[in-house]
Subunit: 557 residues, 2 copies
């Protein structure tokens, strides 16, 4: 480490939000640091702010501009908010991708789905195996989470060691995959750690987290007591939970059937990579249809109320020949993520109408979180005992609370959100630059900026409706015939009790008649006058100010 | 009661949903019953299902058709989901309105706001005072809830007594307003009650409800320990809570200022009707601006994250000259209603960015519910000891669970949702007819049906974007010039890397050229062909299928 070299940290996504994780580390002379990227995730759209959008990824424009300096991409685990952006964004970055086997399996699929070579993804064994990437030496340190083979990263640079936790919990009995190995983490940390960059999502949960193993007896008891068909949902990627659910079904003498593509894909990935161990035998849906209901358990996708997932489809009627009936049980072995309540409640009520008993996790019996709670975070700080704590993955309020926790315990810490580039070479983070970041929308088959105004226009049409007004101008710049109005998303009748379009056409006829020659020759002026009159007229009739498209066609003499 | 007379119950809103309460009772010969309506509430729109809609009220078409049989409207309490529809719908019903003083105060405002006479609302004293309405004699029976003067209704008919609880909790120390008077409810019930029509919203809450008085010590302690400005939010209508908050501020030596119109309106209503008692003196915002922050407490509207309420405005910056700063505290003395999480979280993070400490009710210390929990519901069943229990006000799952509870305890009960007319003259409810019900949207200044397709079109534009395609046809039914395309809410560039509108116009030019004379003379066929080609072309370019408005203008020779 020469005097002018520095170690930098730059979150591009995930710091100031839950989801869309993307963290850059760099080492070298200012502005010339060699870079690595940790995770490249997605976040999900909603009707309120991003209607019609397929997926949301971080704006990586800065990284793309500096792609020549990017030596590698590391993926901590296979959740969508960590690996989901790989297929969509890799082409713009072009760096080699490293992950452990199960994660790499998913990363390769993402690459293939986007028409890129899966060979860009290299499988790495966990610590002590290392990957050299420019000035960095990186190692995958196993940690427990709600998906197999999650890892923290040990990132060594000439400026010292950084530990990036990835998403994690401290689970010593995780049902499947590696238990949290405190001794190993202490071993890795004992030479001194410059910075602990640490998951923050559960910082507001005051009690120590519970182990995945703790839900098994409860689920087993519940399934054993069921009379009709049992259907359970959880995140497909939580293979430990799938195993617990399947084993509970098996113990109750039921055949188990997995429904939903994500579910089958995950179990296949688990089998392909050998991490799944002894998973109960499952039957195909064709067989399930013929079984007595009390001999059957379905494990289905859609714990968050997703409209196209198996749980929602079953709630609307038949799905792959299966239906829910009076006396069946539906178990949400999951927590509803804030923002998804409406969809989940819709499904619950649909099942209620069918006479299905719904068991959710309001009492915390059938689900545990995959993230470290407040006491667990403090325990992690103590185990690693870093020079500084940098909270990541969380909304602003999570990062702030986590930073405060660290500082209260006498550690250096800093609240760094997306776009804040910090020099972490010294004893505490020092913000050296603000990078423009944001969200990129995957909309249909194209990528658009969240601030481009395109989705804003869609929101406006949803709120205000739309009017098309057409006028044809003759060779003498006089209106030819009447203006023509079409509406979409607006009431047909207003206060005049005449069709809205006729009223607006009448009003447009009036202002066209009064327009002076100068305006009639000027498309922009005419358009503005027509738009204003349409809005005024519609407002007067039905109390709404619509979005307006004006088409002026001029016949040329 | 002659042999052919019957007593009927018909929910038009609130049974199968939370909000929008409207329950009809009738007595008389089948099809000729004299009717009364209990409550006429609203529910609130959301972006997912009703973007741009102002408010949602029950579809009262059936009641309007039978308005000659309607003798009275009774309002149980002044919450919007019970009285909010009065102004919008009264004209279509025209029956006299009865309520207790505080509720009547609000009901009159609703009437005035809609340009109707407040004199249609009559103030009624509580039990034992009665109102005669056709064959019914109705009395307001005080009960505790989260707004003053809430009442159950004692509805007497020749077929017996019905008790309609309204929204309620069993609170013997409600801080403000009448404590739950078990002796009175026993007294009213002792002659025998045919049906208990009972609030169901909290049936999934397993523990006995807590009293409003229980939050006072916690809130007082919290405010006493605060260093900077304290800002607290709750439902404006929860005057007891406002009082608790204001008293906590006063006890901590702070001046109290109410921000937000709903807040001021509620306190004014409380003062006008004398129910508020000794409320701490408040100061106007002009004075508040000049006070030291540690001497000030604001109580503000917007506990549900409403964008225009005081809490959201403060989170975006200055509101009426007030701003939040590092070291201030913001207290949510409220629960987030499912579906409102995103808005509330947005505010929390905005405050976090300002350095404000956010205290929410995740631990249940600073808020209690206004509704009866499961054990309280069972206690109410026992107190009233009715022949049958009819659960109302709840989603399907709540009504189902509540019905089951009653049946498990050996009572008759029935799950009746909106539109199910039940004869309750006999020992158990007997569904005799299905009435068409639904939701009416207040959209701008007009009322539209939820199923009219108008809002569905708006949702489609939000998801898919919009294209206008214009073609002018000459006197010989040949296209005059090129087709003209305008887009809204769609990416400007697609896979051809040329402007989307140009690509689509080019494609339209191609199909117009290939169109046969028959199609060119037929507006419907042409429109369909153009719409299909626009969708195909846009799909090909950017992967989206837009909504399309086609305008074909024909010049007449």
């Amino acid at each position: 480490m020469t005097k002018s070299d520095r170690l930098i940290y730059l979150p591009l996504g995930g710091a100031g939000e839950i989801g869309m994780n993307a963290y850059v580390y760099g080492y070298g002379k200012p502005g010339k640091e060699r870079l690595i990227l940790v995770d490249i995730g997605v976040t999900f759209p909603d009707m309120d702010s991003s209607p019609g959008v397929n997926l949301i990824v971080p704006d990586i424009a800065w990284l793309e501009t500096n792609k020549k300096r990017l030596d590698a991409i590391f993926i901590t685990h296979a959740h969508e908010d960590h690996v989901g952006g790989l297929g969509h964004l890799w082409r713009r970055l072009g760096a080699p991708v490293y992950a452990r086997a199960f994660t790499a399996h998913h990363a390769r699929r993402k690459m293939e789905d986007a028409g890129q070579s899966p060979d860009e993804v290299t499988t790495v064994s966990p610590y002590p195996e290392t990957v050299k990437a420019g000035p960095f030496t990186v190692s995958f340190l196993p940690i427990s989470h709600s998906i197999p083979e999650s890892s923290g990263l040990v990132i060594d640079s000439p400026a010292g060691r950084v530990i990036h936790t990835g998403d994690f919990k401290l689970d010593e009995t995780p049902v499947l995959g590696e238990p949290f190995d405190e001794a190993l983490w202490r071993e890795v940390s004992k030479g001194g750690v410059k910075a602990l960059v640490c998951d923050s999502t559960n910082v507001f949960s005051e009690h120590e987290g519970r182990s995945e193993a703790s839900v098994k007896p409860e689920i087993t008891k519940l399934v054993a007591g069921a009379k009709g068909m049992v259907v359970a949902t959880t995140f497909a990627s939580n293979i430990a939970r799938l195993k617990t659910l399947a084993e509970a079904g098996q113990a109750a003498g039921r055949d188990v059937c997995l429904l939903g593509r994500a579910m089958q894909r995950m179990v296949a990935a688990g089998e392909a990579t050998g991490i799944i161990g002894k998973f109960p035998a499952t039957i195909p849906v064709e067989e399930a249809r013929d079984l007595p209901r009390n001999k059957l358990m379905l494990i289905v996708t859609g714990s968050q109320g997703e409209r196209r997932a198996a749980s929602a489809q079953l709630s609307r009627g038949k799905y792959l020949g299966m239906t829910m009936k009076d006396g069946d049980m539906f178990l949400f072995s999951s927590k509803t993520i804030p923002g998804n309540e409406r969809g989940v409640i819709r499904i619950m009520n649909a099942y209620s109408e069918m006479g299905v008993d719904i068991v959710d996790d309001s009492a915390g019996r059938y689900h545990v979180s995959g993230h470290a709670n407040r006491p667990d975070l403090l325990r992690m700080h103590d185990i690693v005992n870093p020079e500084m704590v940098i909270p990541m993955h969380g909304e602003h309020r999570h990062l702030r609370q986590h930073t405060r926790l660290a500082i209260e315990k006498g550690r250096a810490g800093a609240l760094l959100v997306n776009g804040m580039m910090a020099d972490i070479s010294g004893p505490a983070p020092d913000v050296v630059e603000y990078i423009e970041t944001g969200r990129t929308y995957l909309d249909g088959s194209v990528q658009i900026g969240a601030m481009d105004g395109i989705v804003r226009d869609r929101i406006r049409m949803a709120l205000n409706g739309h009017v098309t007004a057409t006028v044809i101008m003759d060779e003498d710049d006089e209106p030819l015939g009447d203006a023509w109005v079409e509406v979409m998303g607006l009431a047909e009748l207003g206060k005049s009790n005449a069709p809205l379009v006729e009223v607006v056409e009448g009003d447009l006829g009036q202002i066209l008649m009064r327009m002076n020659d100068k305006t009639l020759r000027d498309d922009d002026k005419m358009e503005e006058a027509i738009r204003r009159e349409v809005r005024r007229s519609v407002m007067d009739e039905i109390g709404k100010k619509p979005e307006v498209t004006v088409v002026i066609s001029r016949l040329i003499g």
